[in-house]
Symmetry: C2
Amino acid sequence: MSSDGTGRRPTIYSVADRAQVSIATVSRVLRRPDEVRPATRDRVLQVVDELGYVPDGAARSLAVKSHEAHGLVLPELGGPYYADLLTGYEQGAADGGASVVVLLTDGKADVDLLVRRLAGRVDGIVLMGAVQVAPTTVAAIRRKLPVLGLANSHEESVESFVTENVHSAEELTRHLVEVHGRRRLRFVGSPDIADDVHDRYAGFVAAHQAAGLEAAPPVPATFREEDGPRVAALLLEGELEADALVCANDELALSVMRHLSAGGVSVPDQVSVTGWDDGMAARYVTPGLTTVSQPVRELGRQVAVRMRALLEDPTSVPEQHLLPTTLVVRQSCGCP
Amino acid sequence: MSSDGTGRRPTIYSVADRAQVSIATVSRVLRRPDEVRPATRDRVLQVVDELGYVPDGAARSLAVKSHEAHGLVLPELGGPYYADLLTGYEQGAADGGASVVVLLTDGKADVDLLVRRLAGRVDGIVLMGAVQVAPTTVAAIRRKLPVLGLANSHEESVESFVTENVHSAEELTRHLVEVHGRRRLRFVGSPDIADDVHDRYAGFVAAHQAAGLEAAPPVPATFREEDGPRVAALLLEGELEADALVCANDELALSVMRHLSAGGVSVPDQVSVTGWDDGMAARYVTPGLTTVSQPVRELGRQVAVRMRALLEDPTSVPEQHLLPTTLVVRQSCGCP
DNA sequence: CAGGACAAAGTAAGCGCTTACGAGCGATGG
DNA sequence: CCATCGCTCGTAAGCGCTTACTTTGTCCTG
């Protein structure tokens, strides 16, 4: 076995052979260098270099019973939200020496299968609330590894991180009502599409109640830009009466705003429009988009850190984490 | 060994025991179901379900000598560019049953080490041109697995995908010169920061030569929004004379544009500003940002597909791939 | 009813690495 | 001068899975 390095991919055996040591020593040189005599170490290192040896991660994982990787399951990567989340998470994971495997579910048929498979390649999985996974799947993988939820405020059984939605939506709505005297507000977004949206609408409703107003039903829409024209059209054609549109996120808000302006409706003079997420575009449009900022990157990082803790001590008590948001007032609500 | 499933994580042994079959049969049930009698199959599947068994990916990888994963090394995930790229890549990889492990290098100290480690966990690696990796590292990992370059037009030795930069930059510049009569154009961005930028500047210069003009040296700047204010200030304070700013990407352009306006300089009346990437914000700002659109998601997908081909047939001839870009003319250049 | 063909399932040999354990050996101290 | 200690390093036993090969059992066929 084990040629002197002529073989395609060098293994720990090739290195050992060529350096005249046992594979144990090669392993030691790489993992606990100070347990081997400098002379030996150098010799081994040189061979490692010559051969371009890179230890096989799978073999290592198998031996140490740890994948040194986390799985992150997101619906997609559009908009700044998920990208920031991933950025934060990757940092947090990398700080602990783990890589992250991303699984984007949008447009994929057998999400449950994919998630299960993923569960076999990582030490822990973070599941975004917006991805549709069968409860039985979640239950199954939880038996194998820690699972953390994200923005899934209504799945109590899984430890999760959510950003505050209800109160910020309430604050935003109140701002429109009290400061700008809006009375015919509509919420744009489908509450059943994600827990996030559900909670934002709940805050919208709560603010109405507090002000003695009645909240109109939500105008259904996805998170995507594509839905903007349709919503704008409803209003332009008079099918929707509103002096304020509270949109589920920035993409939607920007798109609506643009098509409203194009249709001759002035924002914010005739209609206030607000978003959610505070992405880059929100700062650059005119009028500036009033929106809610979430510490997304930080959120990602915290989730990763928590996951690491969970992996070290699986008995640690589950907790629900709530992260604060900030209302960012610009001009699209009517403020100067 | 192998309890009947009481142990923490069920393995193929626990399943086999409980279903009264050998581990080979369990494996078959999972990988080649039709090679086992339905009755047996069902019995095994039921146990799999009961125990919540998920095969260990590392063990499988070791046995089949394939990680069924690709590595994607990016500097960061800011802006739409990398996120789209990743989205496309993940799709392409998933179509081939592979997951993708992302490595974000910005802010990380030992990138070379991380890349090497990554090389041990995946079947192939895609390296963004903008990440700083030592040539020796690249050489080392290339001996172990296929490496594909991205937007690294000047690293000839590695098979790579680049989007067209020179001609589009030339076209963009010509547009400013011929259509809008600009004469004092400046390129904003550091050509040495990435091959992309280098080529865009080259196109900028080429257009000047073709028009019998002399191209001014570039105004150094990174890809980030943060550099905008400084650049705008140069112009506002008269240290920079220009009637057109060709920026290396959208973030930079948007930021510059905004700070220029804030400083009382009218865009595009006094100064044209252009970007690169055609992100969401480019469509929503006023004036609309004239920029260059790249088929980024498609690019990502193609790279993934190529990687899969390379993995199947490592002898396939390396080729350089060039993807087209499109000039997107909006108002920031001076067009109505 | 013997013999062969074929389907189903078991046996066992790895895949490449980590690490507990122990052997060898020069240094140390009583 | 010999028992001990401590440092280095080799031996070998897995880690959990896949799969070539073999065995066993069934069902035809002539």
